[in-house]
């Protein structure tokens, strides 16, 4: 698809497919989505609705919850942005260069997907604790990594990386080298080629990858609690606050925080998607 766009061909897909089975697949898709995604969300909202709208608002605006939401969303956004840069770099290296161990590196990118998050958290905490291999390098300078918001950030960078790499990589793979060569023969500098030819083509995929990494990071619990320190107002993430509420047998309160997180995430994803649509339109129009 990207290829056709790059070469400037227009391909519209407005009429229903000539293939039969639209009705049945639509029915199946809606039922499936409802069961797997919507039903749990309905239960969640229903649990929270015990508090009423002002109740939810009251829970959401307590300083403790606000602080935790800020920690969660800020660290997730920063981690996603860092991954946007380094993830693209990793994808670039994996696609454009051949070197011994490339396949191994390629496979290693997926490890954060496969590893149980608690294991990742314990490993990262051991590494970045004041007596860990990396933590010990920073400790003499008075920089603490594990058990601070910086530790949360590192855990979220770890779990978010594959999302960016795996969304950018295929687009980069399909991107024809000839386009870059053409750009060069037309007198563009290397930087101009990267920023005006290659990157615009990657932006939609990159935005998707960043959105996925962000969404995953916001909900991450397992790896973060081991490295966060969990101090209220400093390094307490919103999912931990939800778990704490559950342990106090306060199901409605826990659901209320969850609903607030969900709403913020949904709005954030909506914005990201419209940015993506915008960039795609601009790119196609160019």
């Amino acid at each position: 698809m990207t290829v056709s766009k790059v070469t400037g061909q227009r391909f519209t897909f407005v009429r229903p497919s000539a293939l039969p089975g639209f009705g049945i697949t639509l029915g199946f898709a809606t039922t499936y989505l409802s069961l797997i995604v919507l039903l749990p969300l309905v239960v969640l909202v229903w649990r929270a609705s015990a508090l009423g709208l002002d109740g939810i608002w009251k829970v959401a605006t307590t300083p403790r919850v606000m602080a935790a939401l800020e920690v969660s969303f800020m660290t997730s956004a920063l981690a996603a942005l860092l991954n946007a840069f380094f993830g693209t770099l990793v994808a670039w290296v994996l696609v454009r260069y051949d070197f011994p161990g490339r396949r191994l590196l390629d496979a290693a990118v997926d490890l954060p997907f496969a590893l149980p998050t608690a294991v990742a958290g314990i490993a990262l905490a051991a590494l970045y604790a004041p007596n860990g291999w990396i933590g010990a390098l920073f400790a003499p300078w008075g920089i603490k990594i594990a058990f601070t918001p910086l530790g949360i950030f590192i855990a979220l960078v770890f779990i978010g990386l594959p999302f960016v790499v795996r969304t950018v990589q295929p687009v980069l793979q399909d991107f024809e080298r000839e386009v870059e060569e053409a750009s060069a023969t037309l007198g563009a500098t290397r930087l101009q080629t990267v920023f005006r030819v290659v990157l615009p083509a990657l932006v939609p995929a990159l935005v998707t990858g960043v959105a996925l990494a962000f969404a995953r990071a916001v909900g991450e619990y397992g790896s973060v609690i081991f490295i966060a320190g969990n101090i209220p107002f400093v390094s307490e993430i919103a999912p931990l606050l939800i778990v704490t509420r559950l342990e106090e047998f306060d199901y409605a309160g826990a659901s209320a925080i969850a609903v607030v997180m969900l709403t913020i995430s949904f709005v954030a994803l909506l914005i990201i998607n419209s940015v993506q649509a915008l960039s795609r339109r601009r790119y196609e129009g160019a």
């Binding site: 004041p130 007596n131 860990g132 058990f147 969990n230 101090i231 107002f233 400093v234 106090e248 309160g253």
Partner: protein, 348 residues
């Protein structure tokens, strides 16, 4: 996530064993009885020893094989699992408040559960002590030393850990004793201590790991049994135990969960299991595993000699029982929640 796994595993295991147990015998007693003991964090070693001894005892008296599965975690979290449906035949938690919560929220055992066994259903007690780095470089001796600026204190979160609630109350009780009942001073001390805490883990074992393996903190506030165990596990050359002049008598209670044992037909075994804790061999195992037995004459004198003499106050004397302490200190928005203020100064 881990809790969920453990739960499904336990549930599946229990269902499977119930099947195999009832299958070969018709009308007679099944050949195996399976009990699930839902316990708190640092009792892993204690119940491993108790389970073996009880299984032997049970076979001798009934000819039946007994398999006991134990599950461990922060006491509050374990209580919630039971409320949510984990089929525990017996619960052995860190404090009465958590079993009260099970009785109140799930009605699986009566509210007067604590009067059903001797000694308020506490076959063993423990207390709270300090573990410090070898040689005690920060010179920590008393609760008030934990509040000094520059002392880094490791304790779990009282919201999720029963042990941490005892830690908090012991500090409070000590300051009350020192100031002859000044509640405001006690609150100030506890606030200052928690401002010195860099990591709040969810359970006692997590805090021990943070202190011993991650080298975080100058002092770990710990169950006495957990402190002995940490010394045994990580080496007495690394840590010292410091015993404050006053601490709290921690009373971890045990109870049969009526609704579960009646449904599964395990009441006799479950009751025998808990009674075994009160028997002479049970008390001996308890003392060996660093818990304080209630009948010291049954324990090995060598084991008893390890327990330091501390002035111990009880939660009933100082705080008027668990229900009151829970509401005043640990409920949502109560004193513990008020310690942490939005300024962000709380951690430094």
């Amino acid at each position: 996530m881990m809790g969920l796994h453990r739960r499904t595993f336990l549930a599946a295991g229990a269902a499977l064993s119930a099947l195999t147990a009832s299958w070969p015998t018709f009308g007679q007693t099944p050949a195996t009885v399976v009990l699930t003991n839902v316990s708190y964090d640092p009792t892993r070693e204690l119940y491993r020893a108790v389970n073996d001894a009880f299984a032997g005892e049970w076979r001798r008296s009934t000819g039946q094989k007994a398999t006991i599965r134990t599950s461990h975690g922060g006491s509050g979290r374990q209580a919630r699992s039971v409320i949510d449906g984990l089929e525990a035949d017996v619960v052995t938690l860190a404090l009465a408040g958590d079993i009260d919560a099970i009785a109140r929220e799930s009605r699986r055992l009566p509210e007067n559960w604590q009067s059903r066994l001797p000694k308020n259903s506490c076959p063993y007690t423990s207390t709270i002590v300090f573990v410090v780095r070898k040689g005690n470089p920060k010179g920590i001796k008393e609760w008030s030393d934990l509040a000094r600026p520059g002392v880094s204190v490791v304790t779990p979160n009282p919201k999720t850990s029963g042990g941490a609630r005892w830690n908090y109350l012991a500090a409070w009780a000590d300051e009350l004793e020192r100031t002859k009942g000044d509640q405001a001073a006690a609150r100030k001390l506890v606030e200052a201590i928690f401002r010195n805490v860099p990591v709040l883990d969810s359970g006692a074992r997590g805090s021990t790991t943070t202190f011993a393996q991650r080298a975080v903190g100058d002092v770990l506030i710990s169950w006495e049994n957990e402190a002995f165990l940490a010394l045994q596990e990580f080496g007495a050359d690394k840590f010292d135990i410091v015993v404050p002049s006053l601490s709290i008598l921690a009373e971890p209670p045990v109870a049969v969960v009526d609704a579960v044992v009646d449904k599964r037909g395990t009441r006799k075994a479950a009751e025998a299991y808990l009674n075994f804790l009160y028997s002479a061999p049970g008390q001996k195992i308890i003392a060996r595993n660093f818990y304080r037995p209630f009948k010291s004459e049954d324990a090995d004198p060598a084991d008893l000699a390890r327990f330091p003499k501390i002035k111990l106050v009880t939660i009933d004397q100082v705080f008027g029982g668990w229900k009151k302490a829970q509401a005043e200190h640990f409920a949502d928005g109560a004193i513990f929640d008020q310690i942490y203020k939005p300024s962000g100064k709380a951690s430094r």
